[in-house]
């Protein structure tokens, strides 16, 4: 393999990895941001089950890359303030660059486990202020040896801090996340730092057992370090991205339907890389 082809292939692999890892599954709680995280947990001994459809498109010149997947998440409330979540992604299809062919693949992605501990909560009439720490572990369960890969091949950890004020009318969320990626096979994906703020409003103050709508807008900022192959940094990888993301929640008793779209407003990527056109998520969730 000549050097030029190696660099091109490495860049594309890096790109897939970017898509794979930039895909931030929504967190499992209906009244939280779609793309960010919030401090809410499910009630003690309660279960939350969510199925989510996600889609993302990236493009570089005439080349377009798409990825669709399903995420199934199961959350369990250990206490009223502590929850554990199992996230199982299923990649439905990936259409990638011409260097490795347009090969749609389907299969299990990287399973992740998360714990969320709401360490601070202040309740007032119709208002709840809360903050939580989140620790996550992503396991290398997705196939990373074939092209395009379905997983990163590495065990990665996530640390996050989230806070929110939720009232009958207004919602305010903020969080920071840091994802520490370890060395997988030959590829080590760059660590990621994410920060999100969200603002939501409930147009109609409906009562319990009535349909309830909340509309929300998020600002999602992501900073990606460069990826490495065999310890060598890939020049055309990493960078910073900022998204504006409108979304909604529609709930009825213990059922929730939610969705949102991320539109990039600024992408400062290192070197020539494909840029995100949009990310889309739609989910249905039940608490039992």
């Amino acid at each position: 393999m000549n050097t030029l082809k190696f660099i091109k292939t490495a860049s594309l692999v890096s790109l897939y990895a970017t898509i794979l890892l930039s895909f931030s599954p929504t967190n499992l709680f209906a009244h939280e941001p779609i793309f960010g995280l919030g401090p809410h947990v499910v009630f003690k001994n309660g279960f939350g089950i969510e199925t989510e459809y996600e889609s993302e498109r990236m493009s570089a010149g005439s080349e377009t890359e798409k990825r669709t997947s399903f995420h199934t998440e199961i959350m369990y409330g250990v206490t009223g303030d502590l929850a554990v979540t199992l996230s199982v992604p299923t990649i439905l299809g990936r259409t990638v660059g011409e260097a490795v062919g347009n090969i749609p693949r389907t299969g299990l992605g990287d399973i992740s486990l998360r714990t969320k501990y709401r360490f601070w909560r202040v309740d007032r009439p119709g208002i709840q202020d809360a903050a939580a720490v989140i620790f996550g572990l992503k396991l290398p369960t997705g196939d990373y040896e074939n092209t395009p890969p379905l997983g990163s091949g590495s065990t990665d950890v996530l640390f996050a801090l989230a806070a929110a004020r939720e009232s009958r009318r207004w919602y305010y969320f903020g969080n920071v996340r840091y994802r520490l990626n370890t060395n997988g096979s030959t590829m080590q994906f760059g660590n990621r730092f994410l920060a999100d703020v969200a603002f939501g409003v409930r147009p109609w103050l409906t009562e319990y057992l009535k349909p309830d709508l909340v509309v929300m807008v998020e600002a999602n900022w992501e900073s990606l370090q460069r990826n490495k192959i065999n310890g060598t940094e890939l020049r055309d990888s990493g960078g910073e991205m900022l998204f504006i993301s409108p979304g909604f929640f529609l709930t009825l008793r213990n059922w929730a339907f939610k969705g949102g779209i991320q539109f990039p407003v600024n992408q400062e990527l290192n070197g020539p890389q494909a840029k995100t056109d949009y990310r889309f998520a739609l989910a249905i969730e039940i608490h039992i």
């Binding site: 909560r121 007032r124 009439p125 119709g126 319990y208 709930t251 213990n254």
Partner: protein
């Protein structure tokens, strides 16, 4: 003769206790809940409250920040764990108002109301409403229906804190 007196006394005590308990009930409970902001989150509260013994219908008002529990099948609502159940659901109970049917008794200058189908009793806060109630009863042991604020009074040096009812309204049956 002494034996006969003992037996009759025992029968009287047993009958009194059974009469008291069979007429005692926590019929309705209203809980002021802080932190109730979204209908979806309130589901956990409904589910947790419905699991309590004796609870039939649970109504939740988000705008009032209130959960109302009605008893089922003439059973008494389990009131001991209300605060912790609300906490487990992710909220805070700030005030519990209970409607209780029972019979008042007195021991060591403390008034009690027997409330459930067991040996559990509520202490009655000695306030003006209680004095009005006692005056109305005029020493006659009758079933009464009282509505009041239920709370646990912390007693230094004691692990368990008995439940106390501060009467707001009463009705003599």
């Amino acid at each position: 003769m002494k034996k006969l007196l003992f037996v009759l006394t025992a029968i009287f005590i047993v009958q009194t206790v059974f009469f008291t308990l069979s007429n005692a009930q926590v019929k309705q409970v209203r809980i002021k809940v802080n932190g109730l902001a979204c209908p979806f989150c309130a589901y956990g509260l409904e589910k947790k409250l419905k699991k309590l013994d004796g609870v039939g219908e649970v109504k939740i008002s988000l705008n009032k920040g209130m959960a109302t529990l009605d008893n089922k099948d003439n059973q008494s609502i389990e009131f001991e764990n209300l605060t912790s159940v609300v906490k487990d659901a992710g909220f805070s109970a700030t005030e519990i108002t209970a409607t209780v049917k029972g019979v008042i008794s007195k021991s060591d200058d403390i008034y009690f109301l027997s409330v459930v189908d067991s040996n559990k009793k509520l202490i009655l806060e000695n306030n003006e409403k209680l004095q009005n109630l006692l005056s109305s009863l005029n020493g006659v042991e009758k079933a009464v229906s009282v509505k009041g604020i239920l709370y646990q009074k912390e007693t230094p040096g004691h692990k368990s804190h008995p439940f106390t009812l501060s009467i707001q309204r009463f009705e003599i049956k």
